[in-house]
Assembly symmetry: C2
Homo-oligomer: 463 residues x 2
């Protein structure tokens, strides 16, 4: 980006355009740990500024990279080809929470937890709950179609979007969708944009659906001797027609990581822990908790603990919450994947992962949202051993192959970005890639929006 | 379509290609009552036959029009430019119902009720319930993104699609999406196809999400003196954080239609009837029914009847079910629209409709899925009076304008087809239309898939 372009951007943003090295460094990384310096960072206040930026980018052919909080695990917000990062942090207004129609309208920079807290005050619930909800933004959630713990019952971000306002790669400012649950007027541009990782359009406003806040919840923590028994309990609970709002499984490797650190004693023989939460009305919750407990025991649980009050539930959740810090302590570098397999294949997947770790002499820690089949596979590496890194890369590829073979998907909630671009074709095939490229060229003909993402030959970097 | 093309089609279909006038007449109409003769009708057995047909159509440039049961209200399955109708009635297999993963895989010709019944046998529930569910097909439901009564709680067809197999307008056979609730690998081609009315691709297989079958239900029928009071009760119930699985409102015009025919005595002063159903576990259902009854009384109900057993519930539903036959008896020709407004604007919409009927000297009967703001506006015409028809057309346009003004959408579940093509721009604007056209040209560059639908200048016919 030359001086002329920078001046033109300064005309739009004034003091809100930053070009100093310090400022650029702050927007050069995300949760992948990779770094790419942008040429400039701008803080738009409204859709019109975004539109003008994209028009300018089409004229001068520089990359425009939208960014929420930079908490993504696939590199979606990294400026891999430089250009200008558009940080949405100053577009952070909740414009309305409509309690009659159960709809919220907001700007993309709203932090997910802020939205959840604000609607909660009105007795409402915005379910998607990515682990980073304390800092990640709704714009990023929409761009990646974020999931979380409660997707097994409540679905993912896509299921709560009614309409969007976005600037397409052409610079056109479009309004898509509706403000109501129903609406079938033309093509579904709304869901075309959700999960498109900022490569088709930059979201500048969203209309989201809310639901009534569940009144009660109960949490159960069950310990099993083996991964297989825990995984079978997950499928068994669903097969009994219970729909918990969370089913978090920690396999033996994850349990071992937290055994010391968690303020919670575990049965000695524990090889797998399963945290289950049910929510709803008081009568229902108690009954469902009973049924879940019964199912866990039938599937061989060593012990089942249970809490219905907030303090007790928090204590049980501590085990699950302590995994990430514990893992970081054990090994600071990890390759974090988020595969999904059909629930009925979870046991098979865990067996495969355990064999793979042994074969490749790697530490692989697995935990995640087992209720929807979503496992976070964390390959632990020192970061300095080249051979170990190579083995880890081979292991990841094997994990992806096995995932696809089991009828699963290589990304449940993190997206493709740069991290999974080399593997996307494995799942969607060359034809799928070609169709998606056609879509890209349709809405971003000059390839100025978040270039280097999703598609392999465009990907500026590999792992 | 010349003899050469017919011979080529016969090579694919053999005896399953029909060209006699009688056969073609059978596939020339749908629920709009309009008729367009196709040149031929074929009954594919698999995706490969569909693919070969689309390739042939690209070579010889003839229209290919997919058709389920022809029960649509917007003309989606009408061969307005001739060509070959592909009837999916022989692709009617349910390939699997997976009770561990709560997923069904099926061909497009499966009748919606058949799927619902088959999964019910396994304690599962496929929620979408368009009024035509006894004969309409899943393929048609997917193409139009069908809704129904229970969308207020359970959502619409789009919310139950995990993945699709489809032949694009280019002849490419693509597999989209996943078999799991989560999945964010590339663009959302699945939801791009849902609701695209057979203009981007022909769906040849679907992977659908199922949920546990609710155990109990209770039905309430409340009578109000005015539309306004009924409409306010709808918004009031939702605002109290109750989510019924159905809230069907019949306004004064609809109540008057069925007053005689229904086997149910109504309070004399009834100006509006509201049927509400709650479902779930036994304890919850009773409690929610109490709360709904309380809310109805607070909003001025003259009387509230309630039933929890099947026979009693059926009796209450009789009133709602008798509307369509009663309306047909009163007046055989109707223009049936399916607008949606935010629930909080229902009262305003009903007042507008009542004033409009008076101003235009028309009979307009309104009823529908008020829980999600979806109203079926039926403009009754004799069909012979030219002036009346003109007034009806003016009225429909006014209804659409008011709908958009109130933040609603001109089609909640019927789609655009030919019936609403002249009005789509009113809602999505010229830019929305232009973006959608770009999408169309991307996946059907030669315009062979269901031509004359959705876009105005392509629309072969007006009302």
């Amino acid at each position: 980006m030359n001086e002329k372009v920078i001046s033109a951007l300064r005309e739009i943003y004034g003091e809100r355009l930053k070009t100093s090295l310090e400022d650029r460094i702050c927007y050069s990384y995300d949760a992948t740990g990779k770094e790419f310096l942008p040429d400039a960072v701008a803080y738009p206040l409204n859709a019109e500024e975004v539109r003008r930026t994209v028009l300018l980018a089409n004229e001068h052919r520089f990359p425009v990279v939208p960014r929420g909080a930079g908490s993504g695990f696939s590199g979606g917000s990294l400026p891999v080809r430089g250009g200008v990062v558009l940080s949405t942090e100053r577009m952070d207004r909740i414009l309305s929470i409509d309690t009659e129609n159960l709809v919220a309208v907001l700007e993309p920079g709203v932090v997910t937890e802020t939205l959840k807290e604000e609607v909660k005050k009105k007795g409402l619930f915005y379910p998607p709950d990515p682990a980073s909800l304390k800092f990640c933004t709704i714009g990023g959630n929409l761009a990646e179609c974020a999931g979380g713990m409660c997707a097994v019952k409540y679905g993912v971000t896509r299921d709560y979007v009614l309409g969007l306002e976005a600037v397409l790669g052409t610079g056109e400012l479009v309004r898509t969708g509706v403000s109501t649950v129903k609406g079938v007027v033309g093509y579904d541009l709304t869901r075309m944009l959700v999960g498109s990782e900022g490569t088709l359009g930059i979201i500048t406003r969203a209309t989201l659906r809310l639901v009534p806040l569940p009144e009660f919840a109960a949490t159960l923590l069950a310990f099993f001797p083996t991964n297989e028994m825990g995984a079978k309990a997950v499928a068994g609970i669903v097969e009994e027609r219970i729909t918990p709002c969370a089913m978090e499984l920690m396999d033996r490797t994850a349990v071992d990581c937290v055994r010391q650190s968690a303020d919670l004693s575990l049965p000695d023989e524990t090889g797998c822990a399963l945290l289950i939460e049910v929510d709803g009305q008081e009568a229902t919750v108690a009954r469902e908790a009973d049924r879940v407990e019964g199912a866990c025991r039938r599937f061989g649980a060593l012990e089942v603990r249970r809490a219905a009050d907030a303090a007790g539930r928090d204590k049980l959740w501590a085990l699950r919450r302590s995994i990430s810090p514990a893992v970081r302590k054990v090994n600071p570098v990890k390759i974090n994947e988020d595969i999904v397999v059909p629930r009925s294949r979870l046991a098979e997947m865990f067996a495969f992962l355990s064999g793979l770790a042994e074969r490749k002499s790697l530490k692989i820690v697995n935990f995640g949202h087992a209720g929807d089949g979503n496992i976070h596979v964390n390959v632990m590496i020192s970061g300095k051993d080249e051979d170990e890194r190579r083995r880890a890369e081979e292991a990841v590829e094997e994990v992806f192959r096995k995932t696809v073979e089991l009828g699963g998907t290589i990304s449940g909630e993190h997206g493709i970005g740069i991290a999974k671009a080399p593997y996307m074709e494995m799942e969607v095939g060359p034809l799928g890639v070609s169709v998606m490229k056609r879509l890209k060229s349709c809405f971003d003909p000059n390839g100025i929006l978040n270039p280097g993402k999703i598609f392999l030959e465009e990907a500026a970097v590999r792992r």
